[in-house]
């Protein structure tokens, strides 16, 4: 019998962590109890993107969007929505607090988005190959195997304007073409799923929600360039993505879409998974290839580029997950469809992981050319808790910090670099007035220093030196000359480092020195941290006129630095205080001030 309702339950990692699996089980049980089990199809899908509001349950055809669903809500959803046709008002997404938004199209978070890469995420069951096939899946592979020549495929990619989504933005067709032109019996196709930027989870969600799109793309590439073997290098910290990939690969093999003689075409291609141990540098392509070979993940000088001499010295096409996920759509819908989306030099869409002090954090896919303001304020809903926007960090540890004046920058490869940041793989961390720029930059720098492989001196020594200077500044021991020293070291690292990790490590410092010069000076000259984050530069004081003598702060203080009798003004002993901020958090009368 035909289904009359479809219940889509988010099965992304974020929603799984808040019991979406239990919701799924409870929904099935409730359907049985209410005798509607054979009329309703319940599907565990990939990420819907709106992680802020998870776990998400969507019911079609009503298009009802239930948010923050708890396992115990399952029975009510079935009883009311499915049996009685009444939507469960209290679970519908509610932005303003006054009107409930029943339908997805009314939700602002989705309004400016355009989904190519995430086309199937949150719609199909990623563990069912049939559902992928039903959504034009493996149609591109059909065309590549039976209708198009390698020349035509490369020409299609070229006119689509697709550029690599991993950070550098290198034209994808050129990589394919280089590898294809090398005469060699053995060639490889590699998917870089070693997503390492703090706060970024685009690739994980794509693999969790639509693993077949990557498998199909790699097979098409194999056919085009003459490779018969592919590797997916994915970090072991992504267990759900790995298991979905394994299921997808087994299904594709069973259907004859991977393996020998694919669809009877005579073409052989298979894919293996290689697990990474979570080293950030292994996201760099040459280090990644070393790691697949079983060696220590260290970058190699380029040229020769992997396209010519890559894995085990053989020509290798290597692209990241998001780039691959674009390929089947381009082949199926055509380059002329794809290249109408985006800007002159950046075609298509880009997925961002929007995090930080933002109201709607989540996964966002927008056409290239969308401005930062649209992403942060329209899709992201602005800054959480009505604080003031301070800056946005794009491109992860390799990117830069952009201020309010850059909010109208259209997002494409060129514009972001011009503004002093970069596209990177798509992490986007929003900061508000309570964030200290020096502190944030120090976090990124410490990350890059930790993750440096240590092979080349500019990165190893330069990074450490920068970190030491920043440490000094946040302790209140900085000098004005330190700013110039940091610039000099940063510029040297950019020129002298072997790989992108070292070349981009100074980016957060260099961009913030330009945009937040005053804040650095406040730390160095005035010995003050304006945002109140750097512990060594702040002190807590009790305001006499506001203190009621409730003793709450004194009881919280871990070092007993606060003294005072009941109902009398309390005092902090500045010598004993460790600036932990516990009293500040505790006081209900705003009687404690940061100076």
């Amino acid at each position: 019998m035909a289904f009359r309702n479809y219940i889509l339950v988010c099965g992304g990692t974020a929603c799984e962590s808040v019991k979406s699996q239990q919701i799924y089980q409870n929904l099935i049980a409730a359907c049985k109890e209410h005798d509607v089990a054979d009329e309703v199809q319940i599907v565990m899908t990939g990420c819907f993107g709106f992680c802020e509001q998870g776990p998400i349950v969507k019911i079609l055809p009503e298009d009802a969007f239930y948010v923050k669903v708890k396992p115990e809500d399952a029975d009510e959803i079935i009883r009311e929505h499915i049996v009685k046709g009444r939507q469960v008002e209290r679970l519908l997404y509610d932005k303003s607090g006054s009107t409930r938004h029943a339908r997805v199209e009314d939700i602002q978070f989705y309004q400016k988005q355009f989904r190519i890469v995430l086309r199937n995420c949150g719609f199909i069951n990623p563990e069912s190959i049939d559902e992928y096939i039903a959504r034009e899946g493996y149609q591109a592979l059909e065309r590549a195997l039976f209708e198009m020549t390698s020349d035509e495929i490369i020409e299609e990619l070229k006119s689509s304007g697709l550029r690599g989504r991993g950070g550098a933005g290198f034209p994808t067709w050129m990589k394919w073409n280089f590898t294809r032109q090398v005469k060699n019996d053995i060639k490889y196709v590699v998917c870089n799923a070693d997503e390492g930027d703090p706060g970024a989870y685009m690739d994980r969600s794509t693999l969790e929600g639509d693993p077949h799109s990557v498998l199909e793309a790699m097979t098409i590439c194999g056919k085009t360039v003459g490779a018969n073997k592919g590797y997916i290098y994915i970090r072991a910290e992504y267990p759900l993505a790995i298991s979905r990939l394994e299921i997808a690969m087994a299904q594709a093999r069973e259907y004859g879409l991977l393996g020998n003689n694919i669809l009877g075409s005579g073409f052989d291609f298979d894919i293996e998974i290689r697990l990474g141990a979570g080293a950030f540098v292994c996201g760099e392509e040459t280090a990644l290839l070393q790691s697949i070979e079983g060696k220590r993940g260290m970058p190699q000088p380029r040229p020769p580029f992997p396209a010519v001499k890559g894995l085990w010295g053989q020509p290798t096409v290597i692209s990241n997950v998001e780039t691959w996920a674009n390929v089947p759509v381009i082949i199926t819908r055509g380059a002329s469809w794809f290249n109408k989306i985006g800007t002159a030099d950046s075609k298509g869409t880009k997925v961002f992981a929007l995090t930080g002090k933002i109201r709607n954090s989540g996964l966002v896919e927008v056409p290239m050319g969308t401005t930062l303001r649209e992403i942060i304020f329209d899709i992201g809903g602005g800054i959480a808790n009505d604080k003031k926007f301070k800056a946005v960090q794009t491109g992860g540890p390799s990117g830069g910090v952009l201020t309010e004046e850059y909010l109208d920058t259209p997002i494409d490869f060129g514009s972001l670099v011009k503004a002093g940041s970069m596209m990177g793989s798509g992490g986007m961390i929003v900061m508000d007035e309570d964030d200290c720029i020096v502190d944030v930059v120090k976090f990124y720098l410490d990350f890059s220093v930790d993750e440096s492989c240590g092979k080349c001196a500019p990165c190893r020594i330069g990074g450490k030196s920068l970190a030491r200077i920043l440490e000094k500044i946040t302790k209140g021991n900085g000098t004005v000359e330190d700013i110039d020293t940091m610039r000099t070291i940063g510029e040297a690292m950019k020129k002298g480092s072997l790989c992108a990790l070292g070349q981009t490590t100074p980016n957060p410092i260099l961009s913030s020195l330009d945009h937040f010069h005053d804040e650095y000076l406040a730390h160095i000259v005035d010995k003050k941290c304006p945002a109140g984050k750097c512990k060594d530069l702040i002190s807590y004081w009790i305001l006499e006129d506001k203190c009621t003598g409730c003793t709450a702060c004194a009881r919280k203080c871990p070092v007993n630095a606060i003294s005072g009798a009941r109902k009398e003004v309390h005092v902090i002993d500045q010598n004993a205080c460790i600036q932990c901020g516990a009293c500040y958090e505790t006081c209900r009368f705003d009687a404690i001030e940061i100076r």
Binding site: M1, A2, F3, R4, Y6, E39, Q41, L60, P61, E62, D63, V83, K84, G85, R86, F123, I124, D130, E131, I133, A134, R135, G137, Y138, Q139, E142, L145, F146, E254, Y255, G256, L257, G259, N261, L263, G264, S265
Partner: protein, 134 residues
């Protein structure tokens, strides 16, 4: 399933495409809304709903969404349903049993003619001509 040939993949896609299109709501501007209040259910709204789905399947109509709502207030002629088709007035039909459901699909949705003897509201029943305005 064993390894497929190109033809088998294509026929599999055709077979599964229909199912997934039903899930998709984009571009579906024709809607059948079924009153599933207690009154409707008691009068057999579930059989009506199944009959609509079966009729759409039979005629391979994929661009129509079938949704439910609560009681429409016309409890004396349950099961009640509303049909929304662009270019035609929104119509509430009453006393829709399995046979009528099939008729509504074939007449209203496919041929563009109102099923006048079951209209109970919107547009007002008394201004509807018996021959459906033809």
């Amino acid at each position: 399933m064993a390894k497929m040939t190109l033809e088998e993949l294509r026929s599999l896609r055709e077979r599964v495409q229909g199912d997934i299109q039903k899930r998709d709501i984009e571009g579906k501007d024709r809607r059948i809304i079924i009153g599933m209040g207690t009154c409707g259910i008691a009068a057999g709204a579930k059989d009506t709903l199944d009959a609509f789905l079966a009729a759409l399947d039979e005629h391979k109509l994929t661009n129509i969404s079938v949704t439910q709502t609560g009681c429409m207030g016309l409890c004396y002629v349950e099961p009640t349903i509303e049909v929304i088709v662009p270019g035609m007035p929104n119509v509430i039909y009453g006393k829709v049993d399995k046979k009528t459901a099939k008729k509504i699909v074939e007449e209203h949705l496919m041929a563009g003619r109102l099923v006048t003897d079951h209209i109970f509201d919107r547009p007002a029943a008394d201004i509807i001509k018996k021959d459906g305005g033809k």
